[in-house]
Every structure is written in structure tokens, then in C-alpha cells.
Point group: D2
Chain length 345, copies 4
Amino acid sequence: MIRFNSDYTEGCHPAILKRLEETNMEQTAGYGEDEYCREAADRIKAVCEAPDANVHFLVGGTQTNVTVIASALRPYQGAITATTGHINVHETGALEACGYKCLTIDTPDGKLTAEQVEKYTKAHFADESFEHMVQPKLVYISNPTELGTIYKKAELEALYRVCRENDLYLFLDGARLGYGLACRENDLTMADIAANTDVFYIGGTKVGALFGEAVVITNPELKKDFRYSIKQRGGMLAKGRLLGIQFLTLFEENRYFEISAHAARLAEKLKDELTKMNISFYINSPTNQQFPILPDDVLDKLREKYSFAYQARVDETHSAVRFCTCWATKEENVEALLADIRAII
Amino acid sequence: MIRFNSDYTEGCHPAILKRLEETNMEQTAGYGEDEYCREAADRIKAVCEAPDANVHFLVGGTQTNVTVIASALRPYQGAITATTGHINVHETGALEACGYKCLTIDTPDGKLTAEQVEKYTKAHFADESFEHMVQPKLVYISNPTELGTIYKKAELEALYRVCRENDLYLFLDGARLGYGLACRENDLTMADIAANTDVFYIGGTKVGALFGEAVVITNPELKKDFRYSIKQRGGMLAKGRLLGIQFLTLFEENRYFEISAHAARLAEKLKDELTKMNISFYINSPTNQQFPILPDDVLDKLREKYSFAYQARVDETHSAVRFCTCWATKEENVEALLADIRAII
Amino acid sequence: MIRFNSDYTEGCHPAILKRLEETNMEQTAGYGEDEYCREAADRIKAVCEAPDANVHFLVGGTQTNVTVIASALRPYQGAITATTGHINVHETGALEACGYKCLTIDTPDGKLTAEQVEKYTKAHFADESFEHMVQPKLVYISNPTELGTIYKKAELEALYRVCRENDLYLFLDGARLGYGLACRENDLTMADIAANTDVFYIGGTKVGALFGEAVVITNPELKKDFRYSIKQRGGMLAKGRLLGIQFLTLFEENRYFEISAHAARLAEKLKDELTKMNISFYINSPTNQQFPILPDDVLDKLREKYSFAYQARVDETHSAVRFCTCWATKEENVEALLADIRAII
Amino acid sequence: MIRFNSDYTEGCHPAILKRLEETNMEQTAGYGEDEYCREAADRIKAVCEAPDANVHFLVGGTQTNVTVIASALRPYQGAITATTGHINVHETGALEACGYKCLTIDTPDGKLTAEQVEKYTKAHFADESFEHMVQPKLVYISNPTELGTIYKKAELEALYRVCRENDLYLFLDGARLGYGLACRENDLTMADIAANTDVFYIGGTKVGALFGEAVVITNPELKKDFRYSIKQRGGMLAKGRLLGIQFLTLFEENRYFEISAHAARLAEKLKDELTKMNISFYINSPTNQQFPILPDDVLDKLREKYSFAYQARVDETHSAVRFCTCWATKEENVEALLADIRAII
């Protein structure tokens, strides 16, 4: 079975395991207060060109989303999100379990526009019953989105401008950030993201680490007491250095960007070749998640050899599915998949 | 200023005030454990033909919705609701603040159908990521809905059947229940509602009381420890007899139904006469909330003399607004309103 | 049965009922945005000598405590309270249900001292694991306390000084405030309380109203968006004027203080006479709650004619019980009780 | 600097790292649904002699405590815990943040007795205001406790008997379970624990793993939908196999018990030798945490070379501190510490 169903099917980049071994018997302080965490934070701040940022390391994405959002909102405030946003659909209501409502906006491509956010917010405060409704206060976006789409620099800047004008925080979920930055359509840098959000995170779990997400907080209002929040939400790893060591390794020698580029290139190859076969897509994704629409019988045959995720029924005989590449994807497996699809079709 | 903006602009039915005066200096036990509450509960059980039901009295609607739903759900379970449901839009996220997600279904008329609920629930359990999503466990409906529409007996029965087949609780918010049962299109009785839900409540605040909602629990699973939940959610009135006395008075001499019929008749008069004027409606409501679409300049003139609620912009020059009648509405005011609209148009 | 078990066994002061009747068929705006609420707020601000305060009216005490505290704290912050504090023992975990921890300090008399609060707070921040513990941020006191004791002016001033020095909010639960201010040991005024807290509330439920608590917010940090919080926690009464009318009536003609003085005088009579009988007390309470220690067989006899609350077992044959007086207590009933105790002993 | 301040200062047992490397490029299903997790669960069930148990793997202790307790309680129910319990003092209110109150019982040694639990529970239901207080429903104990003490088999059996008689769940936090089972005073087996609790967990973080806690659920009532809870509370690791691989390795070749025995033996050596030096202890701990009382000037000198945790001030010139041993502690370091203490004293 060759797995394309997600981007967390393998372990981690070998350099990380090597480093874990080298440091294994060292004694360090716990809870992220060790030298590795400090050094990893410094590297990330450098890459972000954000020397005053606070960088914290958490274990997983759901935990990170909850910790960041809960530390930013008052109980009667909510997070604006695309209806397809991960916090709204795939976190078992983790955010609501902490008391916060997702304020959803329907979008065709998983992205929020500056106009949508502005309209939603102004409508809230213009409503005579505004105190009977959850107050919008934070905008949650993901880049790449759950549908693989990405924000262009102009879009992100416009969104952040609207956020500042309307007293909203902008939070970017970068669980797959590397794969977004490495794709050919991208025009954003890590520094652009740091400059155009109040807080964002750099995903490790899906981009070369065993686990881990690095939260970068640039807005001073959100920095205070953040470690209390990490602890309260269960995200403070006892052996915190494991996170420091991983991110340190990923941000050495341009590694994070190089392994992301590998995944991006293979996804582009998949997309280009499927397009040549006249296969259409559920969504035009430029990143490591590709959503081709295929006949159900073709999918059944592919399932004998490959795993992939079911996305949606398109018509009576066709479904959209998701194939992911990642830092560990072997080119030969992509080629085998393409050959098999060609053969079946 | 003549107010049609809501159904809670006046005090209460005079018989209630009289009863409060007669009993004012009596000493009773607190927290709903007095004779008046017991007697009121008995009358409600009789009207519901549900001798085994548990009846509890709470102060307001938001509190009641939260108390009932939070006592029925586990943290990872959610409440299916129409997107327009009161719990989703007009309770400042009270339900989320208690940890529970609203699982929304878009509907044209504020009502949920058996088919929608079945489809939603089956889709949840069929999804390979089902554990990553909030589990549907309770269906929240309101009757009349926030848009004034009502459930027909067959619709409610079908919905309840689907709920039982899919292990879902059915909870009916009856904040305006009297006005639904009293309208000419209605074919439900209070007993039908008790027989076709797991828990529902009979609104007092909008139907003749100073305040108060009577929760009727028929499903034994939901009865246990409910008073703990009332206390925890802030709904246990110290002088609980105030609720007992009010509901006792409302359920004497058919009063609840008679005062509801008054409001229903005036709403129907309003609807019929506006229809004759070729005025169209945002939604076809058979109950005490009417949503005519009027030119903005007409509305501006009406605002000099009447208050009413803004509902939605329909086009550049027309808006939908809401006029409510209630137990206390004076026929002469409805006539004055109709005359003024006729004159302006 | 003559009830001394609590101070909410009767209805309300007759002047309130009269006012409710006079205004019953008036139409007003809902949700506390009517003229009566505005006027009542103005009177309370005048009595508090706090023209810039915000005054809000809620229905009950548990709801008020939760709303105030939840609107003041971040999720990782907690409320310092005496272990006997109402929020810690008698609200079914309402505060925890909103996500906040009670940080308890054991006290002999239900009161917190400036020293205790300072020591607790400094210990928190001095602990190397401080981020692993809930951060103290608000001090909850009640006056009178759950044990009937009161704060002297110097004590309250010292407590508030420590709070400001340590960046803590001071919140005073005044569910029985009138009975505290009216007792002979008291040296505080309402204005003193407003000047020496960040937020407090004036209890109506136990002091002459049908229900209702008036929250007075003097700290600007706590004013923002408070009405969202009221709505979210279920405390926004649809017919909000009922609260305005009640507090307006209580704060006319010195009524609140006069009816409180009546209860205080009867409690003092009870205390003085029991003391003369050589009966000792569980706690030396100067207010309307008295906690005599009596032989169990005496209590059994008293129970035939009187209701009162059980407080604690003192030894094998004696128990402490609680007798409450209130605005509605009849002097003849206190005399009858005293006579019966004298006779039995 | 030689660290004795905690039992999570090193990485993990080398066999685990080796296994992680061997399996690193394998592709597996995510979220704990892989073969390694299944196999590890089977081994744990075998050791527990509990073939019907459900075993789940989570990342850290706070997260595990919250997930288990929140999945067992209704919102108005609470967890009985020693005042010193980890959930009450060192989890930044994580449990309260999920809505649940800690019901604390003061104990001299961090342990709860059957008598205490029975008395607390019976008192709750006997109180006339029982619905105004949080209902006890789960008993949280840790073994070893936060003070290093352990439950004897008879104590645990008595506690579990009382729990069953009073409809309470018994949950054992085994963050340091290995170190408890391996100490010379212990008479419990893993199977005894499984047989005398409803749910417990086996700590990996402090006992040889990089991270990870294995939850063992034996009570069928607690099994349902547990994975939803794990996901909601942020504990579902994407690369779940990392947990499976670690526990599989720990439960091969008796490894978990052998490495625990190493730590236990060194702690006993430390305790025995300090006792010989006439040093007294804050608490008589038989496990890997030792709490000697030492003069402050001695501690200052030791701090130049060793790290240890501050526990409490004992008198003006003495403090209690905590030294931990663990699976990775070197015997030479314990000997050096003992030699240095001997020399200084």
C-alpha cells in the first residue's frame, strides 16, 4: 500500500532523528525553557525578520489553534473563519469546548477576502441586536487552506489592513506553511507573513518533524502570559527540548524550505500530468494537496494499491479525492500512481 | 410610540399581578420547591397528557436553551439547528460558552425536515474522519420558528421518528408556543408536542407572563439531576414561587390559549389586510410575527409613530421588517397601523 | 410554620407591586434599555457617589457572580475567595462551568484579609512553577459574608490597596448588602464600597425585591462590552424594566436602607436575647443571619413550629443552625420564637 | 550541572530511539490507528490482565487528566481529589477550563482514604442544599502521589469498594506508575490496578519515553466515544504510531519494570544514606521523589553543582527540597550528591 492520503504518514526527516540521538542523554530544563528551544526560536525570528516576536513550540495543530484563539478572545467574542476552516470542521469542536464560537463565512475556495471580513464585521456592529450576537474579534485563516489554495501577498495585506481597521486579530494557521511557500504560484515570504498577521504558526508535523508547531506572536497584546495558556490547554511538553531540537534542525541549512520544495514539485508534477490526461479538479490547488475528480470505478481500482482521502461526491459516477505529497514522498511512487491512472483510464 | 417590535413590550396579564399581590406576604420554600410550582407543574402535565413528565420553571429563554442542551450533551456532541435558530444567532454564543457547538443546516423557512436531519447524521457517521467532527446528538427546533413558521403534526412526527432511529434527542423551543398553537394553520396540540419530543418548553415571557419558561421533560434519560443543571446555569430563581404562580395563572381557565388566540387573530388580520394591499412578505408566517416587505420611504414614515424590527434588505428601495402582535396588543393599534400604511401607500 | 430559614421566603415590598401594576400596560423597550432602568441606575450612582459608574441589572446572584467574574478574567486566571465563599460552595460550580477556578483561602469568619491576599498573590508569582498554576487576578468577597460577618471600613480599604498594588480586581458580592450596611457595627457607606472596589452588586432578591441584583462597575477596564456578557450568561431579562422598576422603588425615599434597618434590628434583638439566655453562637454575626448553637432536642421541638437552616454539628448533642430575618420579618414572630426557646430551655 | 529536579530531564530509553529509526520511513495510518498502537495496546492489556480494556495513547499528563475526567463527568459533577492533587495545583486550571470543579480533601500525605471519600460523598447527598453544590462523581488519585507516597493493595481495594458503593468512578493518574510499582514497599501489580479502578494511565513521559501516557479504560461506561474526546482535547497525535512504538518498546522484555526498578533502587539508596546522616524528610516517600529537609546554607552550596526543586520552607533556616531519580539517573551522580552532602554537613 502506497499512501497518499495525508502528509503525516512517515516519521521525520533523518537529520532530526540523528540530532535526537546525539542529545538524548543530555539533561535539560523542561517545559520549553532549554537552550534548544531558545536557539530554535532565534532562528525562526531571524527567518521571520521579526526580532521582537515571541516564539513558542506546541505539539499539535488542534491544540495550537485552541491555545492561540482562546488566549486572544474574551468569552463573548468569536473567530471568523471560512466554513471549511479546520477549526470549524475537523477539530471535534475543540474551540467551542473552550467556549468560543466559529463565525463562519461561506467561500468557494477556503479563503477569506478582505471584503468578506469587513462586511461581516460592519454588519455585526450595525445590527440593533449586536449585543445578542457573538462579537467578531479574530480572523482565522489557513495558508495553504484545507483546500490547498494559498493567499497571494496582496490578498494577505488587504486582509490585514481590514483587520487592523476593524480591531480584529489576524491569525494564520500554517500547518502546511512550507508547502504553501514552496509552490510556484506563491509570492509570500515568511517575513511577509510575520508582518501581515498578529500571530501565526509554522507547521512541523506535516513538514518534516515528528510533531510540533511553532507559534510566532508579533502583536504585543497577544504575548502576555501565553505560557499559562499553553499549559492550561495541555500543550506544554515536559521534555520541551524535543520541539526545540526539531525546529532547530528544520531551520538549519534552509532545510524547511528545501524539503517543502520537494513536496511542492511532486504535487505540481501530479497536477500537470493529471491535467494532461484531461482529468479535472474539485478545486484548483497549487500546493501539496491535489483534488482530482475521478470515476468511481477507477478509484476502486486505485484503492487496491494506493490510499487517498475521499473528499466529495461530484456526480453519480464521479468523486473528488485527495492525494497529498510531502517531504518524504518518493518520486517513483508518484510516477507509479500516474502510470496506473493512465493505464486504467 | 406604538410598539410592534417585539412580543415583550408590556408587563403581564392582569390576573398574574393580582395573584402575586394576593400571595405576596405568604412564606414559602425557595428554589421552586413550593406548592405553587407543584400545582402549576401538575396542570401543565395534565394539558400535555404526560403524567410522567418532569416540569421545571426557569426565568428566560437563553438560559433555558443552554440548560436543556448542556444537560443532554456530552462535550463532543452538538446540537443540530437551522442556521437561523435562536441558539445559533441571538444568544451571544451562550451555548458555545458552555462548550457546545451548533451544527447548522441552511433552511429556507427556519424549519428542519426529517430528511435533512437524517442526511446530516448519516453523513457524519459515514465520514472516515467522524471522530474529528462534532457528533450530532440533539436536534433543536423552535415552534413557531424565528421566522414565524410552524411545524405541522406530520412534520413533527417524521422528525421525531428520525431522531429516535438515529439516537438523537429532539428539543423544541416554545418561546412563542402559544402563538403557534393558536394560529389557524396549526394542527398540533400541546399533547402532540409532548408525545413527539424528548423535551420542550412553554414560553411565558412572550405569552402573558412577566417572565418564565416551563420546561417539560418526557425522556427519562434527560430527567436525572436536572435541578443541578438549572442551578449551575443561573436559572434557579430564589423566590421560585413567582414562576409557579405565573404558570398556574396562565394555565387556569384556558387562559394561555385564549390570550394566544387574541394575538394570533390580530396577526392574521394584519397579514390578510396587508395582502389585500398587494404587499408581499419576506416569509409566509402564519403566526404572531409578520414580515412584510415595504418601501424604505414608507418605513421611514411609519417609524414616526410605530416601532418595529428591521429584518433584512430586500432590494435597493425595499426592506423586510417585523411586526409582532402579542396577548396585550390592542386591536385599535393594529387598525391604526393598517390605516396608516394604506394612507401612505 | 413560621420561616426563618432564609431571607427570600416572602414576595416583595408592597410599593414594588404597586408600581408594577401602575406600569403594567405601558410599552417599553426590552433588555434593560428602558427609562426605568436608566432612572434606577441614576439613583444608584447618586447613592454610590459614583457618577461615572456603569449600573446593570441582573436577575439572580449566581448569574451575577458568574457574569462579573467571567467578564473580568482570562481563562488562566482565577478568583481568590474564602473557602466559604458562595461561589466556591453554593453555586453548583457555576464559575468552573464557565472555565474559572476558585482559589480558596481558609478563614475563620468568612472574610479575607489584605495580608492573606497579598501573601497568596506574592507566593504565586514567586513560585518557579507559577505558569503551571492558575494566576490570581480577582478577589471575591461578600459583605455580609455567608457567615453574617462584615468588613469594617479600614479592612476594606486595606484589601483594596493590596488589590491595586498586586494588579487584582476587587469584587464585592452584596447579595445581602442592605443588611450589612444597616447593622449597628457597620461603619461603611454605599459610597465607601463604590470607592473601594472595582465592581460590586447591591442585592435586591433578599432585600425587598421579587428578584434582581444591581451591578455597579467603577473600574473602566471592566465596563467594556458588559452587556454582551450579561446576554451570554443568560442574565438579560427580556422585560428588563421589571428590574428598573424594582430598584427605582427600592432607592426612592430611602426605602432600601429603611427596610434593611428593620431586619437588622430584629436580628440584633434575636442575638441579644439569645445571648442573655447564655446561648452561644457558631460565629459572631452582627447581621441578619444568626447562628446560635442549640441542643438537638430543643431544635427538634422548635422544628414543629419554625423552619430554619442547619449549619453544622458542634458536638454530639448540639448543632449550629441559622435563623434569618429580612425586610418582611414580623416582630411578633421573633418574639414568639424567643419565647418558645426560653420556654423549652 | 547535575539535574535531580525532575524525572524528565533526559530524552528516552535508547531502545526507543532505535525503534523510531528503524520504522522512520514506513508509511502508516495516522491518529493511533496503526499496527504499532494496536500491538502496544495488546501488550498493555496482557500486562493488566484486562483483555476487554480499551487502551489509548495520549501525549502528556495534563491533557490525559482532562480528557479522562471530562469524558466521565456531567457538567454539574466534580472530581474528588487530595488538595495536593496534580489536577488541583499544577495544571493551570486545565480541568476548570473544561468546566469541572476539583472537590478537594486535605490529606497529610497526598493520599485519599476510603473513609474520606465515603464521608465526603454521603455528606453531599445528606445536605439539604445538595443541588446547589457540585456533585461528587469521580475520585482522582495518583500513584505514586505528588508527594511520592503510594497506595497499598488493601487501601486501593477499599477505595474502589467505596467508589462502587457510592456510584463514583475511580481514576488513577499513573504518571510515575513504574516508580511506584518498582519500590520495595509496593504490593500492587499492574493487574491489581486495572482490577481496582475504572480507568488509569501508565506514564511514559517520566518513565523512559520521549513523551506519552497510556490510558487503560476498564469500565465500559467510560469507553464510548473516547476518541472524540481525545481529539477534542488536543491529544490525538497525527503520527500516532510514535506513541505505539514507544509503548511497544517499553513493554517488551520487561523493560518498563526494569528501568523503573533502576530509579527506585537509586532513590532508596538516596533515602537510606540521607537517613543515616540524620537528615529528616518532609514526607516519608518510598519512591523516586525524595523530600529531604536541609539547612538553607547547605542547599545554597549544593545549588552550585546540582539542580533540585524547592518544596517548602520548614523553619527559618531549613527548607524541604525534592530530588528525583529516574530511569536515566546515573549511580555515580547519586553517589556524588551523597558525598557532597556528607562533606558539607
